[in-house]
């Protein structure tokens, strides 16, 4: 289109009124001139004007043609449609409110969940070329290892020998809580030790200062650290001169060399500090360097190398290592996968299930709205007929209806976006710590597009049907109808029934899903953790070499601590343990061998813990056989060990393990240290209630001391009350000792279930809303029919029928709808049950209890929802009904 034409049209569009006014002026001028001419020719003023108008030939027609030429006709029509729509809405505020609220609920839920999905699963990782990054791991089918941590020596060999990697780095897979000295006192920071190439392989640059180099993998004498943005702001006062400053970490001076940007949250989103792993080069050749597995390596693939090629090469190298080092690497395999998979993996299923739930919710909402619109379309039929008679085309009327749907859906979409934005914030705030691996979950461009698409689809979904309906109807039929049954109104009832049944079916799927998750959660809460969690406080301490050079000092401190705390008022017992049950840090594992037993082929891995005397009594873990550790089990005395029931069941079937000798090597030799088993204790759940206890061995803390210790304290009163007293004892014994954490075991147990609780709660919320919407939908359909049949029912009563019988007709209608919906829903739920299998514990996807209770609930609510219109319909005066016929 030529420029001039475009400019004129644009002007016509943007300065509508001015252009319109110009046209009016021009034509007025024309008429005036013609009128004056006529006056000059001798006509009267009145006649002159009349003639002028006749000769002009239709002012409005000219204006119309002019406007047509402008090409903004469709737009003008749209504007008038929209204005008409808004006028109609103003007259029916309840209808609009109902539709917008319903749609807002449906879209809002979707926005909240989709924001999380977008942030976690769709947004690329904040590294350059993130799809070239791979996570590496070791597998061992003999031990049942899959995607396990790697041994440092293996990791370094991969770095040297695998050509497919342009860089390899790793982090230590246990997260140390360190104590950072700040002006306001010691603060706990989550630190992680990393190899030198950590930041370079990821490709991230610091916001301030510098990061580590490859040389930092090996000890160099200087102690440095890189801090996270959050640590810098919260604990270091956002000091712009932080680079080069020395801070006190765990009692020792450390120089801060860099600050990371705010969106860098690797490996977890609460990592506050990165320190170089600083290995001793002499350790490189040691056996334990290859035997222990505690590194999480990752690598960047070279350009042009596929994951498949890299994997093959890695496995080849690992095969070589297996022959080179049979003592440690037999049956050890290696594998790799995209880094994103590793990060996202555990959250994928819950998120997708939630997304599915919100999708169902939206469908229910749309069905509800569809019904509302259908009813409305039916009630406006006469108006439509009139408009048709006045010349409006079929298409025009359909367009009007469609415009209404679009305006409604836009309003609903906007409201939904607002609701969803708020919902996202609530989701992030209420999530159990670390459920979402990304710190920043916010509606972004993807979400906005999503909302737009959803709104448009919704508009089409529930707008098209009434639009088609309106356009198809025959004018004569409409005018002939007077509200009694006819073929068309029967058709409308069928549609209404179908929509209601569909809604109930979807709602049932939601409630069954929620029910299954709730039952899972309930089962989990009933799992015995192996110890008595009520009334126990756990305080964790760390003895860093800066303050406690000699382990003897640690032991001395702990003995005094236990004695003093045990003597506090209200304390029933106190004990020490290197680790707590139901915690993320599962400690270390090793091979084992029992003297006299042949090396078997079954899983030979055992977990380790170091505990002091009295631990089992304090935690109320039953001592099944033998004895607990006592004061005699100290350094220099015979090495003793206590195993748990799981270990006894697995390896000492039938026999009493007490008295047997156990060593923690795969093939014991002269350097192995043999421990005498002196007792068998009940099994605690080491990691979570959902996972069964694994074989575990306890060694005496005094014989195998550790620098990180938990003090468990039992009291008959509320454990929280003890915290100040315990902290007081600690600071008396050592004023500078920071208390890292103080939690009650009840809280720990509750926290271990946080995920399942959260998921179940969310799904319950969605299911409740869905059920409510669907019941409202059923109510609507039933009430509508009852209304239409009011006269008929009153006639029946007047002719002698019992009110109850007549009411039953209505209730039966409602129950039929709900029943059909429930049956359909059950079938669908059974078919799709497999999707949630991974999230369930103790129940299968076809759990009969849930499949009976949920439908029953819906039927009950459906009964109530049908009862109300039934009663209302039969309450009116029967005689009056007859008269009004």
């Amino acid at each position: 289109m030529p420029i001039k034409a475009l400019r004129l049209r644009l002007r016509a569009l943007l300065q509508r009124d001015a252009v319109e006014q110009e046209l009016n002026d021009e034509i007025r001028f024309h008429i005036e001139q013609e009128t004056e001419k006529n006056i000059r020719l001798g006509m009267s003023a009145h006649e002159a004007r009349r003639q002028a108008l006749i000769v002009f030939g239709g002012v409005e027609r000219a204006k119309e043609d002019y406007r047509d030429g402008r090409g903004d006709r469709p737009l003008a029509d749209l504007r008038s449609d929209v204005r008409q729509t808004l006028r109609t809405f103003r007259r029916n505020p309840t209808f609009v409110a109902a539709v917008v609220t319903t749609l807002a609920l449906g879209i809002g839920a979707n926005v909240a969940i989709f924001s999380a999905v977008s942030a976690v699963m769709l947004r690329p990782l904040p590294f350059p070329q993130p799809d070239r990054l791979a996570m590496l791991w070791e597998d061992n089918d003999e031990k049942g290892w899959s995607q396990q941590t790697a041994a440092p020596a293996n990791m370094l060999d991969w770095q040297e020998q695998v050509r497919a990697f342009s860089g390899l780095a790793g982090y230590q897979d246990f997260f140390e809580q360190s104590s950072l000295e700040t002006p306001t006192g010691p603060r706990v920071v989550n630190g992680v030790a990393v190899t030198g190439g950590f930041f370079n392989v990821l490709g991230v640059r610091p916001a301030l200062g510098a990061t580590f180099t490859e040389a930092d993998t090996w000890a160099s004498g200087k102690r440095v650290a890189v801090v996270s943005d959050q640590t810098w702001r919260q604990h270091l006062g956002a000091d712009p001169g932080i680079v080069g400053r020395t801070v006190t970490l765990d009692g020792r001076p450390v120089q801060v060399i860099g600050v990371m940007p705010p969106d860098f949250t690797f490996p977890t989103n609460d990592t506050g500090l990165w320190t170089p792993i600083a290995w001793d080069p002499a350790d490189r050749g040691q056996v334990w360097f290859r035997r222990g597995h505690w590194m999480r390596p990752f690598a960047r693939l070279r350009d042009g190398v596929t994951f498949e090629q890299a994997r093959t090469e890695l496995q080849t190298v690992m095969g070589r290592l297996e022959t080179q080092y049979p003592a440690t690497n037999t049956r050890m395999k290696a594998g790799l996968g995209p880094l994103r998979e590793f990060r996202v993996g555990p959250t994928r299923t819950p998120l997708l299930v939630l997304l599915g739930a919100t999708g169902l919710l939206l469908l229910i909402a749309c069905a509800n709205i569809g019904n509302l619109l259908l009813v409305r379309a039916a009630s406006r039929e006469r108006e439509v007929v009139l408009r048709r008679a006045l010349g409006a085309g079929r298409g025009r009327i359909a367009r009007q209806t469609l415009t209404e749907s679009f305006v409604l859906s836009l309003m609903g979409g906007a409201a939904g976006l607002a609701l969803g934005w708020w919902g996202t914030r609530a989701l992030v705030a209420l999530q159990p710590a670390g459920l979402l691996p990304v710190a920043d979950v916010r509606p972004d461009l993807r979400v906005f597009t999503f909302v737009l698409v959803l709104s448009t689809l919704s508009a089409l979904l529930f707008g098209l049907a009434p639009a088609l309906w309106s356009a198809r109807r025959n004018a004569v039929d409409i005018l002939k109808e007077s509200g009694r049954t006819s073929s068309e109104s029967r058709r409308m009832r069928r549609w209404g029934n179908a929509l209601a049944i569909g809604e109930v079916a979807l709602a049932l799927m939601l409630t069954v899903g929620a029910g299954l998750l709730l039952r899972s959660f309930w089962h989990l809460t009933r799992v015995e953790p192996g110890f008595e969690s009520r009334g126990v406080l756990a305080v964790s301490l760390a003895f860093h070499p800066g303050r406690y050079q000699e382990l003897a000092g640690v032991t001395g401190f702990l003995q005094q601590l236990r004695a003093r705390v045990g003597g506090l008022h209200g304390v029933d017992g106190a004990a020490l343990s290197s680790r707590l049950p139901l915690s993320k840090n599962t400690g270390w594992t090793s091979d084992f061998a029992v003297r006299g037993q042949p090396i078997s082929e079954t899983s030979r891995e055992i977990m380790h813990r170091e505990v002091g005397p009295g631990y089992f009594r304090t935690m109320r873990v039953p001592l099944v056989s033998g004895r607990d550790f006592t004061g005699t089990d100290r350094a220099g005395a015979e090495r003793v060990a206590i195993i748990n029931q799981a270990m006894a069941d697995q390896h000492f079937r039938g026999r009493d393990p007490v008295g047997e000798m156990i060593a923690f090597d795969r093939e014991p030799d002269t350097t192995s240290i043999w421990h005498r088993i002196v007792g068998v204790a009940g099994s605690e759940h080491q990691k979570s209630l959902g996972e069964p206890p694994r074989p575990e061995v306890f060694t005496a803390l005094e014989q195998t001391p550790r620098r990180g210790v938990h003090v468990v304290i039992r009291t008959a009163t509320d454990p929280h009350l003890l915290v100040p007293a315990v902290e007081g004892v600690i600071s008396e014994l050592d004023p500078g000792m920071p208390v890292l954490t103080a939690v009650t075991m009840d809280d720990a147990k509750s926290r271990s279930l946080a995920r399942e609780r959260f998921l179940a709660t969310l799904l319950l919320a969605f299911a409740s809303v869905g059920a409510l919407l669907s019941i409202v939908g059923v109510y609507g359909v039933v009430a509508q029919l009852a209304l239409r049949r009011t006269n008929e029912m009153n006639i029946r009563i007047a002719l002698g029928a019992q009110a109850a019988q007549v009411r039953w007709l209505v209730v039966r209608h409602g129950l039929t709808l709900v029943g059909a919906g429930v049956v359909t829903g059950c079938i669908l739920s059974a078919a799709l049950g497999g999707a949630v299998r991974k999230l369930l514990y103790g129940v299968g996807p076809l759990d009969p209890f849930t499949f009976v209770v949920m439908p029953a609930c819906l039927l009950l609510t459906g009964l109530v929802a049908s009862w109300i219109p039934a009663v209302r319909a039969t309450r009116t005066d029967p005689a009056g009904a007859l008269r009004s016929e």
């Binding site: 002026d25 001028f29 005036e32 000219a62 030429g69 402008r70």
Partner: protein, 110 residues
């Protein structure tokens, strides 16, 4: 594609307007008067159809418009030929003559 009847009529009107404007810039009413005068009353153009035609011509960039005051101190929109418009007059006139001759020749043979 041979012009339809409305095309011809429209095209004729466009041509007449353009030709009228070769003499001097004029407002809409003035153009209608001139056409009437010069055709000696034969062409009684539907005056209303002038304005859509003027808009078309302006969109094709053959004329431009500007608001000015008349001698009687009234405001009116004056139209002027553009350079392209002046060229178009010749081309359109030639085309019209060809069209007339074609019709004539058909009429003479029957």
């Amino acid at each position: 594609m041979p012009p339809t009847e409305s095309d011809v009529l429209r095209g004729t009107l466009d041509l007449l307007i353009l030709k009228t404007l070769t003499l001097a810039p004029m407002h809409g009413w003035g153009i209608s008067q001139r056409i009437q005068e010069h055709s000696r009353g034969v062409l009684d153009v539907n005056q209303g159809s002038l304005y859509p035609a003027l808009q078309r011509l302006e969109q094709r960039d053959l004329i431009t418009s500007v608001w000015q005051t008349t001698e009687n101190n009234r405001r009116a929109k004056y139209y002027t030929l553009t350079v392209a418009g002046r060229r178009a007059v010749g081309a359109e006139t030639a085309q019209w003559r060809r069209y007339v001759m074609a019709v004539e020749s058909i009429l003479q043979t029957t």
